[in-house]
């Protein structure tokens, strides 16, 4: 007997009798006999729960994890503090074993939390509308660019080179190779988008301008100037961002972004080797009927009691089919739930404090590092929690030494930016202590 399958032999016999079949095999008669497998699949034998746990624990031990190593690595995936409530409450199995809330009356828990998620994100971003979430940050950005094209039918997408390189690659796959739009990259100057280059490349064919703020190098973009340039040609202004930064950085609604997206993993999400994460998608209300994914709305029942339902469903694939705004069917409800619990727990003061701790500690670290002879900051633009450091020796060697000393070093920028060979991108979250930062600088001093 398999613990997940309750049918006993006696049950099976009774059920077959009711059906009027002689054997379970008979139930598969609609499959031509020559197509049915004659032998068992060549899979490993089944395991007991104990054996399974032992084997998988063994596998997990082949990974070196960040309870053992001190991490200074970010680059789109962040090791922020997660309050205990997030795991506890999101582990309520009424939540995680439920399906998409198509039956609203039986799903008020998930619907209300998603409505709260939309409300919290709108507040934080200062944007008009937020959907129930998308897969992750890069594909959320793709959806934003597709929306821009659907709105103005223009065929050129301008992308800041300071946007996460993997996000640029993902954009290329969908926007350029599949939809046939052209992508033009805008160079950077001192770690932020070069406004002159942007002005040179933008024209009436530009569907949208895509930037990241704080950008991949951690630097703060000149968001207001970019807004002016972008809207001069009536192009849409799309921003990808780290929601933690909004604890102190100007939110996209305040600099007139048309669509703001982001990777929400930092909001109570686990690192998980890159997924599942949380694609945040917000926009101005003008685009409400064109935005992708699910949306929860408020309504009442017959007695006037407030409740929540999925709404604006006619945009979606199960109704509009080939003319849907997107092919997306699922959202990342459980990750959005984690973000909702996280933001509720931290609250007004907590998130601001996290952001300020990141800011102060990263600036302390930057100061300590550039005081080491031979090391300098790659850029001198204002930054939030990440900064690039130009190293006097191979950045790869530095990371190796750090790793040997139980430190996960910065991101080696040369991987995506050949011109930044030997620059390391360090990420300092509120979790890093002064002691850990001092230890990092000591090892760096050893390198020169």
């Amino acid at each position: 007997m398999i613990p997940y399958i309750p049918n006993t032999e006696k049950d099976q016999k009774e059920m077959l009798k009711e059906i009027g079949a002689r054997s379970i095999e008979d139930l598969f008669d609609s499959i031509p006999r020559n197509l049915r497998l004659k032998t068992d699949l060549n899979l490993p034998s089944s395991l007991s729960e104990m054996e399974l746990v032992n084997e998988l624990k063994g596998l997990s031990r082949k990974n070196a994890h960040l309870d053992e190593y001190v991490s200074f690595l970010g680059a789109g995936s962040y090791d922020h503090f997660i309050p205990s409530l997030v795991d506890h409450l999101s582990s309520r199995s009424e939540f995680y074993t439920s399906y998409t809330p198509y039956q609203a009356e039986a799903s008020q828990g998930m619907l209300q939390t998603t409505y709260e998620y939309q409300s919290l994100i709108c507040k934080l971003f200062q944007m008009d509308v937020c959907n129930a979430s998308l897969y992750e940050g890069a594909t959320a950005l793709v959806e934003a660019a597709v929306l821009a094209h659907n709105v103005n039918h223009r065929k050129k997408v301008l992308v800041a080179k300071t946007l996460h390189p993997e996000y640029r690659q993902v954009l290329t796959t969908y926007i350029n190779k599949t939809l046939g739009l052209s992508i033009v990259e805008i160079d950077y100057e001192n770690g932020v988008t070069d406004l002159a280059k942007l002005e040179e490349k933008i024209n009436k064919e530009t569907a949208c301008v895509v930037i990241q703020n704080p950008n991949f190098f951690g630097c703060l973009e000149k968001v207001n100037e970019i807004e002016e340039i972008t809207h001069q040609t009536d192009s849409l202004y799309i921003v990808s961002l780290d929601p933690i930064s909004l604890g102190l950085v100007i939110p996209p609604g305040e600099y007139n972004a048309d669509i703001a997206v982001g990777e929400g993993q930092a909001l109570g999400g686990k690192l998980n080797f890159g997924g599942p994460y949380l694609g945040i998608f917000t926009s101005k209300k003008d685009f409400l009927r064109k935005i992708p994914g699910r949306i929860v709305g408020e309504t009442t029942d017959k007695k006037g009691r407030r409740g929540f339902v999925l709404t604006l469903q006619t945009r979606e694939q199960h109704i509009r089919r080939e003319r849907a705004t997107s092919n997306i069917c699922t959202n990342q409800a459980l990750n959005a739930l984690r973000a909702t619990i996280y933001l509720s727990t931290l609250g007004e003061e907590g998130l601001a404090k996290v952001a300020h701790l990141c800011l102060q500690k990263s600036h302390y670290a930057a100061k300590r590092i550039y005081q080491i002879p031979g090391f300098e900051l790659t850029f001198r633009s204002p930054f939030f929690k990440e900064f690039a450091v130009k190293c006097p020796v191979s950045s790869h060697k530095i990371n190796k030494l750090l790793w040997d000393n139980k430190i996960l070093g910065g991101f080696e920028l040369g991987r995506f930016y050949p011109e930044l060979e030997n620059s390391l991108l360090f990420s300092i979250t509120e979790k890093r202590t002064r002691e850990e930062i001092d230890k990092l600088t000591l090892f760096l001093e050893d390198m020169v």
């Binding site: 009927r289 469903q313 006619t314 109704i319 509009r320």
Partner: protein, 136 residues
């Protein structure tokens, strides 16, 4: 009793398309809306999307959409021409379409490009017959 309702439901002075739009012609201008039958099929309308003034429409192609909670339907232009007037009120109160499909629920006025296209549309009796078939 039933006879009377049927008459009110498909006015004789209008022409009808197979996709359930009606057309009222006044000189070179066609007023377009959807029929009572169409509104009943769609049940509760929640949204309507209409073209802007000056838009060119061609016979048979989509000039907008109407949406209920769980369905979305194209609006097909019964004639070709240029949109000269749009019933802006509908975007705020789409229920007008259901309440008064042939009156306040009109959608757009088109300056007719090709009058001969009108001949291909149905009269009210022919349209009633079509509806009777679809109901089955």
């Amino acid at each position: 009793m039933i006879e009377k309702t049927e008459n009110r439901v498909y006015p004789k002075n209008l022409k009808y398309s197979e996709t359930h739009e009606w057309v009222g012609v006044d000189k070179d201008t066609a007023t377009v809306g959807i029929t009572d039958f169409a509104t009943k099929q769609l049940t509760d309308l929640v949204y309507v999307e209409l073209p802007s003034m000056g838009a060119k429409v061609t016979k048979g192609s989509s000039f907008g959409v109407v949406e209920s909670v769980k369905a979305v339907s194209d609006l097909h232009s019964p004639v070709s021409g240029t949109v000269v007037k749009v019933n802006e009120k509908l975007s705020r109160e789409p229920e007008i379409i259901t309440q008064d499909p042939y009156g306040k629920g009109w959608m757009i006025k088109i300056k007719i490009g090709d009058e001969t296209e009108l001949d291909t549309l149905m009269g009210s009796e022919e349209y009633e017959e079509l509806v009777r078939k679809e109901k089955k």
